[in-house]
Amino acid sequence: MKVTIDGIAIDVEPGTTILNAARQIGGDIVPPAMCYYSKLKDSGGKCRTCLVKVSKGSEKDPRPMPKLVASCRTTVMDGMEVQNITSPEVIEARKGIVEILLLNHPLDCPICDQAGECDLQNLGFEHGAAKTRYEFDRRTFEKIDIGDKIQLHMTRCILCYRCVFTADQITDHRIHGILNRGDHSEISTYIQAAVDNDFSGNVIDVCPVGALTDKTFRFKNRVWFTKPVDAHRDCDHPGCNGKVTLWYKGEEVLRVTARKDQYGEVEEFICNTCRFDKKKTSDWVIDGPRHISNKSVINANHYDFVPLPVVKTNPVLIEANKEQFERDTRL
């Protein structure tokens, strides 16, 4: 099926969503996604950041769709024409969504362990406005304890439902879910049960914000001071193949996560033993450094070359400046 996104045509399989078609093209035209997770069935459609405009429905029925549609849940039709960053309407709507998502977000990035690898930070940086117009107290929640491995910060949650789907589809039973309704709905376990399961740690990886973080890594370090290194081990847990990323500070492994691709999605889910208990280099076989996009702040503290003194003729810095300039002036 042929679909055109922002003027770029691509042939995709029937049943592909607009978002995945855009990901096959890649680049700037990929809509951001906060709740969609390609490894989780039925996820998506909730955060509305991936809204796009369908300016031509299909070859058969060329009428445009009346509203903006969630690209993660809309499948392509043959001859469909989609506008993402070429439509001012979409840019405007997305800006509104980002403002709305940040409305009740505490913005405690300086003390948040997710800072540096947070989807909401990236989203706000790329698509948001500089200031909020919200002048009221931000919503807070009673803190609840969900066990000794996972830390829940409900105030940071954007209710993407990813962790709910993860518990349903990856673990063998789900203890946490959404309680209450509207803007006081929260991720919680009923009567503070502990989330304890062989795969429960994956909710940390899928969480786009700092609502679910690793207690064993809590306040240990900023992610951009740590070095990601790919490693594997023979995990005896069926369902886990032990392929992980180790985050080093010096000689020490500070945390273990699954390997994440450029959209922040894990390649394979890992078990809790690998994630929480194996924190020695001797437990692992090192595969080499993890490639991190040079747009990520984790790369700011580049570990594979010695930082150069800032001189005007430095091509690396000129290149970095250019990238920064492009990023700032693109929208």
């Binding site: 998506g44 209450n180 709905s185």
Partner: protein, 454 residues
Amino acid sequence: MARKLLLTNINVPGINTFDVYRANGGYASVEKALKTMSPDEIVEEVKKSGLRGRGGAGFPTGMKWSFLAKPEGVARYLVCNADESEPGTFKDRYLMTYIPHLLIEGMIVASFALGAKTSYIYVRGEMMPQIRILEKAIAEAKNKGFLGKNILGTGYDLELYVQPGGGAYICGEETALLESLEGKRGNPRIKPPFPAIAGLYGCPTVVNNVESIAAVVPIINEGGEEYAKIGIGRSTGTKLISAGGNVKNPGVYEIDLGLPVEEFLYSDEYCGGIANGKRLKAVVAGGSSVPILPANLFLKTINNEPRLMSYESLADGGFVSGTMLGSGGFIAYDEDQCIVRNTWNFTRFYHHESCGQCSPCREGTGWMEKVLHRLEHGHGKLSDMDLLVDVSKKIEGNTICPLGDAAAWPVASAIRHFRDEFEWHVTNGAEAVTRNFGLAHYADPLPKKEETVA
């Protein structure tokens, strides 16, 4: 006096019992449909009648039925949406309380037309008396052979169940209703797939409003073409309107669509005018989610033509100067009502009822409520009006289900038509908490339309 179709026998004593209802010509449509008509003929008849969904959106019921997927070996369901929770609308409750057999009769005919063997009536949780009434009525009908196995010896089986909801407004949205009916959290589903393809338990499902289903009974009894003669244009048949607010005679009225609004509001047969000799300030024509209109724009369209109670005429002028028929929750405001307070109240409702699934509605409704609260209590700013319009635009159309739109429209329209009242709340903040803005010029005749030279 227009002829009533649904509420013909509403004043017969004991009409809520099977025997009295049957003696007054009840269940004739079941006999006619099951014995002499095929399911397709019934759908055709409903199509011919031009009946449009009475729950709010006004989608043609016959079309909806014909879209139902009919794969082999898969059950089909009919679900009656009796989760009537729109502020201002109470017609379904009235119908279910006083004439429950009409709904059951309609359910049997509609289920037969759609080939459903099991049908549900999803009733809002707060309506416990109505649930008991319906269950009693179902038991009576079953006892007389109109429900259960082999109805009237035609070989058609139908089980009818009443399911109480939890009292959430969002469960009136059809996919949230299905989720709730399945026993899950009442979150609207992301469409497509539509319920006609994969609805209840993944099977093709039709969800209809109580009044739409009840209207099938006169359509079958008298024929679709007869029914289509009532009304005007594409708004055919009769409609129950729940009149409330500051009218002299509030209550449920059955009107022919196309009745002038002036007659509906001021004639003694219907609302009887504004209570206590006051003047009309504004009207919400179809339940809290439709745009509010000032009196002058409500009685006359922008072209100075009289406005009629019909889907088209009320929507005349689009969102700029029109409104919608919605679910028929007619609320009139007299000169002593505060539009800012009313808008705040509506927004508070939507804030409370938002399911929290998608972000614009979850956060945006709360934001609008806080800003309106500030305005109503005299602490607002002049920039708040633009902010509210902007936030409502960010919500409208960007949500999974229509609740976002429903929350945005009343705010946007109130600011559009009553901006001076909002501004007065800012400029005269201290005064605004002690007295109301009053009628101002909202009831003045519309200015003459300027002739444009061709």
